[in-house]
Symmetry: C2
Subunit: 601 residues, 2 copies
């Protein structure tokens, strides 16, 4: 087994947190975070990076090869997953933003994003277990009934128990309203129901990491209306438990009957879960009947940001490994010596085409990280500062589908480029690149396919508050361009400004199509529009980072990392941003050839 050194780019993480967003200053003004200073944040970053490097990443390759196994309803996770889970749970890393009264330390959400991205860099498959557990806990924190609300959250946030989300059924994927799973009341007062049905694609539907598992299950109560409005959500434990003593009781009949063979994330058990097939399956209603989808939707931004983080984390790991390989691998001579067969062989980092690939990976990884943290940071601003809530929530709402779709598509592309940098060695299991590429692909699919994200952006987000969210994004971005021009980035800022305005034009074009009732013509271009906006937004992130780097260079001198931010901007504007113009042209083409009914009949 050839091993490439794994490293988390802590310098970049700190740059984003403390120089770009200055979270220690800005969030320090909020009561909730006044105990967190820069030193605390830094030690969190370093400690988590150490854990990921020493404990999580080393299990990733074997986890892929060994995968999960199922025996009589019980899932066994790969070797080392149990130890890694313990370390992650004990370190409080399942969700560092968990509130203190639910077993957490109450750090800002941007720190949760930071930890999540690092964890995914180490092992995307493993990181799904804490990710879904935290997701379930976050939902319960807002929607579990008292008096057991905080207690169950603590069980999850501390990693004693695990959590899952159970939405999908064989006939209900993107079309969640087609859910057929039944919930029949047993004791309405206690909120107790009997569940029957089958859920598929349940990540962590069973595992051997925790004493108990809390499934959050969408199901349909008797007489409920069709579609999503008839869905309710239930807390379905693997083992029943006493709500006071938290002692475990009977095995509930929520049992895994199959696990999927997949392209990647083999360490994450993707389960078919049978509910009430062979005995009583008890579920406790959360909220009220019919509120299931509304409650799920409240958690959706968080879940989608988490999947966006997978795009970022896999890209970061791919870039890290590709760079390490390229520095070490000698092939060919420099261009200047190309006619001399006896010339010294050089590391492939010397070759322009390899540098182009590495730079494409670097700039996209760093711009996506900036975008990811921006969303986490704005979530913190929104909950801490009432005067910032509207603008910050608006930005998050608008950018969530862009992050989820563009960063997962880009993450997959970056991971495929990582394979390419290694050539034949990229394709074989001896090196980690091909696994990252296989792992990455799922992120474009689950938690709402990227096609669904594009429709969300076009059909909901662009129209929210009469278009104010999108206009706000344009204005903020154009303001940054003005700042960039004034700071010496005239050409780059002008190119980005043009691309922002083109994005505005494309949005208006699609809005007009929708306005005239030609929804199909608009829907065809939803995905290209999202690519356009995503490509432009990452340019904005590059510009923001270049501005921050410029100031940092003035203050503390040039470093390779800071100079790299200036080069990122140049590279992105010259080599990636032109694609946004192409997407814009495509969006505005008016072409509807693919709708011709002679096709795909």
């Amino acid at each position: 087994m050839s091993s490439l050194p794994f490293a988390i780019d802590i310098e970049d993480v700190k740059f984003v947190l403390f120089e770009q967003f200055r979270i220690h200053e800005e969030l320090g003004k909020a009561e909730a975070y006044e105990e967190f200073d820069r030193e605390t944040y830094e030690s969190m970053v370093e400690e988590c990076a150490r854990l990921v490097t020493e404990v999580v990443q080393p299990i990733n390759g074997n986890g892929d090869r060994q995968g999960c196994s199922l025996d009589a309803g019980n899932v066994t996770t790969p070797d080392g997953y149990g130890a890694a889970w313990s370390a992650v749970a004990e370190g409080g890393w399942i969700n560092p933003a968990a509130p203190v009264d639910a077993g957490g330390v109450g750090a800002p959400h941007v720190m949760y994003m930071t930890v999540t991205e690092m964890m995914i860099q180490g092992s995307m498959a493993f990181a799904m277990y804490p990710g879904l557990t935290a997701g379930a806990a976050n939902l319960l924190l807002h929607h579990a009934p008292e008096p057991w609300r905080l207690g169950i959250c603590e069980k999850l946030f501390t990693g004693e128990w695990g959590g899952t989300m159970c939405l999908t059924e064989a006939g209900a994927g993107s079309d969640v309203g087609e859910n057929r799973c039944k919930a029949t009341p047993i004791d309405a007062e206690a909120g107790l129901y009997h569940l029957e049905g089958e859920k598929i694609f349940i990540s962590g539907g069973d595992q051997d990491l925790t004493d108990n598992i809390i499934h959050l299950v969408l199901a349909r109560t008797p007489g409920s209306p069709p579609g999503t409005k008839g869905l309710s959500i239930f807390m379905v434990p693997k083992y029943e438990f006493d709500f006071d003593s938290w002692e475990l009781g009977e095995r509930n009949d929520a049992v895994v009957v199959g696990i999927e063979e997949k392209m990647g994330i083999h360490g994450s058990a993707t389960c078919t879960l049978a509910l009430g097939a062979n005995g009583p399956c008890k579920g406790w209603l959360l909220g009220e009947e019919g509120q299931g989808i509304r409650i799920m939707f409240l958690m959706m931004n968080e879940a989608r940001i988490g999947v966006g983080a997978q795009g970022v984390g896999v890209a970061a790991a791919s870039y890290n490994f590709a760079l390490a390989y390229a520095k070490d691998r000698k092939q060919g001579s420099s261009l200047a010596d190309m006619r001399d067969p006896a010339a010294p062989r050089v590391p492939i980092t010397v070759h322009p085409d390899v540098r182009r690939m590495l730079m494409t990976m670097k700039v996209q990884t760093e711009a996506m990280r900036s975008m990811l943290y921006r969303l986490g940071y704005n979530h913190d601003l929104a909950i801490s500062f009432p005067d910032k809530a509207e603008a910050s929530n608006g930005l998050v709402d608008l950018l969530v589908p862009v992050l989820k779709a563009h960063c997962t598509d880009t993450g997959f592309e970056v991971s495929a480029m990582g394979v390419q940098v290694l050539g034949g060695y990229g394709y074989i299991g001896e090196y980690p690149l091909e696994q990252l590429c296989r792992d990455a692909k799922i992120a474009s699919i689950y938690e709402g396919t990227n096609g669904i994200q594009a429709l969300d952006l076009l059909g909901r987000k662009l129209r929210m508050k009469g278009g104010a969210l999108f206009m706000g994004w344009m204005q903020d971005s154009l303001k940054l361009c003005a700042k960039g021009k004034a700071a010496g980035f005239e050409e780059q800022a002008a190119a980005i400004e043009k691309a922002i305005n083109q994005t505005g034009g494309a949005a208006m074009h699609l809005g007009q199509l929708g306005g005239t009732g030609n929804f199909a013509a608009a829907a065809i271009q939803a995905n290209p529009f999202l690519s356009q906006m995503g490509t432009v937004h990452l340019a904005v992130e590059c510009l923001h980072q270049a501005l921050v780097a410029q100031e940092a260079i003035a203050a503390r001198g040039e470093t390779p990392h800071l100079k790299g931010k200036l080069l990122n901007l140049d590279f992105y504007v010259a080599n990636i941003l032109p694609k946004a113009t192409a997407w814009g042209k495509i969006v505005r083409s008016g072409d509807q050839s693919c709708m011709d009914e002679i096709l795909f009949a």
Copy 2:
């Protein structure tokens, strides 16, 4: 195991062969092919499609799951590979263009491309065995010494024996001149050498399909100059054989010591081959000492076209399966009914975003097929008609790197899009899409990485004959645009014309950079330039097919397939061609930020 129906689009194959290139008429004028009429060709296509559908494709999924195994130097291929090999060999499908005096039927090379692409649609991993066997035979046909030249070719073309190409070593991948494998003369007169060294990534380095295996091995003779000029090529059999009776003799010491775990093509054994490690490894020189790389290069166009065919074939299979799934899968209601939860569920082919994806897959698959067959057809024109040789060979030389790189990159993208069409089902092994995506990635890497192809296009092909090849391509393409405008495709042809001229401008820009000695600046943009040219060339293929379809509609009425060609042109020009403009802008940006020495240090 859910199964999606597999089908080869015979209608499209016939359209390209008989309506677009009219091979039965054009090649019928050549003496070599005068016995082949349309009926013969059609029955070949149908018979091969039947074989692929009934015998080859059914082994593809299990071949992926089971993979190859190695025991004491002997490779076992997956279940069913042996039977499929026999059927392919008996049917004469290893190379239908093999000459009659070497056991073949002497069909045109365009038929070989047709068969190759169909075989890959069935199983890319399996198709590597006949592909490499034919490749070895084709090389021996030109370079094996008499009197055993035709005899050994017959053994290979009939599938009694298999063949491999042994170039790569651990330290010599893209940098083939770094080959260290040694060849020491034993009997110079007989051309007999002793070989020592280790070759890696040898596809089919051993297998259980054939009685014997012929390895074609690059090695270095004593006192040879450094680099590629010092390399010679040898015929190294697994079992020695009598050159008269062809009876097998001693086991030669060319032994597999390891097979690779890979991202895909699991059914193709990727072997580490040790030569002369434990006994004599005999090799017979082909050509003369020092001619190894020249001889290999003569076969390179063919090998690279074969890899380009993998991009096409995998795309075709992905499109086929994605379409079959989408027609069957019901999710959601039509856009018109989207507010009514009780509205009937519709096949996902109704949804605009799915249609966009399917159309992207369809048009790229069909345009790539057109390009692939064009190259095979021009090879036939070149060898059959002396007056056409220069132009046809020039076109093939120019387009080989474009086909190899652009069609494999596009094939991978199409296969990933196929995964996306199926959503969660695309990611699991129960459906064939994820395997196709994993299989596809290798084609961008081997037989010269796509980065190497881009440098070949820029550094060699554009400069050949003072740029005449490229100018010829531009002129032919512009001529077709003029024809398109006259035939009613004004807008589409004008857009393609513009993109062709932009490609010319980009080539000139890169040529000027090279001319001023700024090779690095040019080399950065080699790959984007290839993407630009590839994107434009596929538009030209769409235009050509639309023109042919228009005539066919006039002659025999509209059919869905023919109408589809007109829609392909509209869709490609509106939704894909704008990317070529973006590539052109990138190529001409002049940006060299990635070369800054502060990076990747």
